[in-house]
């Protein structure tokens, strides 16, 4: 089974920090409000501090673990993936069930030259099987292989 491109760890780290930063205005507002209220026993900057600590711990641990548990393999007739830290998920997508394929890349991923392969099936719940952190050429190669398989086995 194959592992992801290690560069994806950096991508996830950046995204994790950005995601936690969304909460920053809220915690800052709460802190300012607490600072100006009279009978407050809380330390100034408590919420922002907590947020920053959580963000740091999360960002240091989660991307590494997620990378550690991600495995995928394109086999003859299916795409096989194992992933998950808390909830370990093992998925098989039969290639003849593939409806369409995307290779997606956002700005951060583009900077590290990694891409996501998104495999759509007609199912609803696990419709989009996303393999993140592939080197761009690898993602394109996977997409073309799956596409050729689908084209060949059309009825």
């Amino acid at each position: 089974m194959k592992v992801l491109d290690p560069a994806v760890k950096s991508v996830w780290t950046i995204k994790s920090v950005l995601r936690w930063c969304i909460l920053l205005p809220f915690s800052a507002t709460a802190d300012v409000a607490l600072f100006f209220s009279d009978n407050s026993t809380f330390l100034p900057g408590l919420w922002t501090g907590l947020l920053i600590i959580t963000c740091l711990v999360w960002t240091l641990i989660v991307p590494k673990l997620r990378y550690k548990y991600w495995r995928y393999e394109l086999r003859e007739e299916d795409l096989y993936a194992i992933r998950g830290i808390w909830n370990r998920v093992q998925t098989i997508v039969p290639l003849r069930r593939v409806q369409h394929l995307d290779v997606a890349q956002d700005l951060i991923e583009g900077n590290y030259d990694v891409a996501r392969l998104v495999v759509h099936t007609a199912g609803t719940r696990s419709t989009d099987v996303v393999i993140p952190g592939l080197p761009y050429e690898e993602a394109v190669h996977l997409r073309d292989t799956v596409r050729d398989f689908v084209a060949e086995h059309m009825d």
Binding site: V89, T121, G123, T124, R125, V129
Partner: protein
């Protein structure tokens, strides 16, 4: 006028009556739910703005919406700010459903919904056309119709008609807690504006019929709780009865040579044809009381569904087990397995742990404010009993190319999932499950719901791997047979 434009048609003029009706309802709700006069004035202001802004927009919408139907295609041009020209070729149309709700039936209009294979929603909706026009569209788009009424059952195709006595029996089994909640909400709104007096009325009823007012507080509280529960049960039963009766009134299904035809409803009349290949899996439902009298309901999980049906469409709303199996297996062949395999006994342990944690945490949190919350701990033994029952009610069987899964204690489900319809295979194991060597096996069918989907929770890891491989092999082997 130009040549092609002559073919274009507009929606029924009564579209406006509908808009006006909706606007009035919205206005009345806004007016009555705001208790302060200041808010009422502002809601009036909003209503005026609404009318000034939305009026011209709805007019423009109406004028921009044009369509024409030929035997080859349906063409729709619409949109005020974003103009859309949509062509739906007739050979891609899977289903043309005609729906008539209460208002539409008063006004003599109908909604035509055109579904294609591509998406989960209706792709073309003509919300207001006359009934004659609706039928013309359907005939043009080549979807066969039920040519006779259920009463003169002359066809040789397998069919099922829900007769009035059976509809009444089936309604008896229905509860609707959701509707009850809605009713309570509405009554509270009415009380706010002083139209009803629930508290007074409840007090009067309780005093007159149930018990006498005494000084003993525990006695009063107990009686009050009992009375509230009784009232809840009775009311949700009545509402469930009415809802079921209205929805499945005169239900008729016929398995034609190419499509399944259905027609049902008292206030909103639904009618449509469904191709067999759209049916993905079956869900046979029941509850302990219905099971006792051998009553079941079978639903089809379909692709390209209406959102209101949540992906599940009734095939037979209420029938004996033998009838269900007979008709269901004609839609997609299946034979009922003789034996089911239970999941691992360790599921009881995991569920008990989960419920214990959840209840203890809630009780501990509540205790800080309200010491009586300690009594919540009495829920613990009950939850353990439920965990045990859940174990007893959860089993599976892989038989004849179909995966059968039984779940739930009260609203019992039996899934019948044909392996060749599967889209993806998945084994999940959470942290706790891995400690107990358990896992959850999920399968995905096209158009399955996010919440309601077939899964086997807490199988032994080895068993799951074996079943997983077996399912997958049969699935892939199926292709070689074709």
């Amino acid at each position: 006028m130009q040549e092609p434009a002559a073919e274009f048609r507009r929606l029924h003029l009564l579209t406006f009556v509908h808009y006006v009706f909706l606007a009035i309802v919205g206005f009345v709700i806004a007016w009555t739910t705001s208790p302060e006069s200041g808010i009422q004035r502002s809601s009036l202001l909003f209503s005026v703005i609404y009318v000034v802004v939305m009026g011209p927009i709805s007019l423009a919408k109406y004028l921009r919406f044009r369509y024409y139907v030929t035997s080859e295609e349906l063409v729709m041009h619409y949109g005020v700010f974003k103009r859309v020209r949509r062509n739906i070729p007739a050979d891609r149309v899977q289903n043309v459903a005609i729906e008539r709700n209460f208002l539409a039936r008063i006004l003599g209009t109908a909604a035509v919904k055109i579904e294609t294979a591509g998406t989960a929603q209706a792709e073309g909706v003509l919300s207001f056309v006359s009934v004659r026009e609706a039928n013309r569209i359907r005939n043009l788009l080549h979807t066969a119709n039920i040519t006779h009424t259920p009463e003169e059952n002359t066809s040789s195709f397998p069919s099922f008609h829900l007769t009035l006595p059976r509809l009444l029996i089936s309604s008896v089994y229905q509860f609707s807690l959701g509707l009850f909640a809605v009713l309570v909400g509405v009554l509270q709104q009415l009380e706010l504006i002083g139209l009803t007096d629930i508290e007074g009325a409840t007090e009067r009823i309780l005093e007159e019929y149930l018990f006498e007012v005494t000084d003993s507080l525990p006695y009063m509280v107990t009686m009050l709780i009992i009375a509230v529960i009784l009232m809840m049960i009775v009311l949700s039963w009545v509402l469930g009865f009415v809802q079921n009766f209205i929805r499945y009134y005169n239900f008729y299904i016929e398995l034609g040579p190419e499509k399944i035809h259905r027609k049902y409803g008292l206030i909103t009349l639904r009618e449509g044809a469904l191709p067999y290949k759209r049916v993905q899996s079956f869900l046979i439902r029941s509850n302990p009381l219905m099971r006792l009298h051998d009553w079941y309901r079978i639903e089809m999980q379909t692709l390209g569904l209406e959102s209101g049906e949540r992906g599940f469409q009734p095939a037979v709303p209420f029938a004996k087990w033998a009838e269900i199996v007979a008709l269901g297996s004609k839609i997609r062949p299946f034979t009922v397995p003789e034996a089911y395999t239970r999941v691992s006994r360790r599921t009881i342990r995991r569920r008990c742990l989960r419920y214990t944690l959840f209840i203890s945490a809630s009780v501990a949190a509540l205790y800080l404010w309200w010491p009586y919350a300690v009594w919540g701990l009495t829920l613990l033994p009950i939850s353990w009993g439920i965990a045990w029952l859940q174990y007893l009610c959860h089993s599976w069987s892989f038989h004849d190319g179909n995966l059968f899964i039984r779940r739930r204690i009260f609203s019992q489900q039996l899934w019948v999932v044909p392996v060749e319809r599967l889209q993806a295979f998945e084994i999940n194991a959470t942290f706790f499950q891995r400690r107990l060597d358990l896992c959850t096996l999920r399968v995905d069918t096209a158009g399955a719901g996010v919440l309601r989907h077939p899964k086997i929770v807490d199988m032994r890891r080895d068993d799951a791997e074996i079943l997983f491989t077996k399912l997958y092999d049969v699935f892939q082997g199926h292709r070689e047979q074709e």
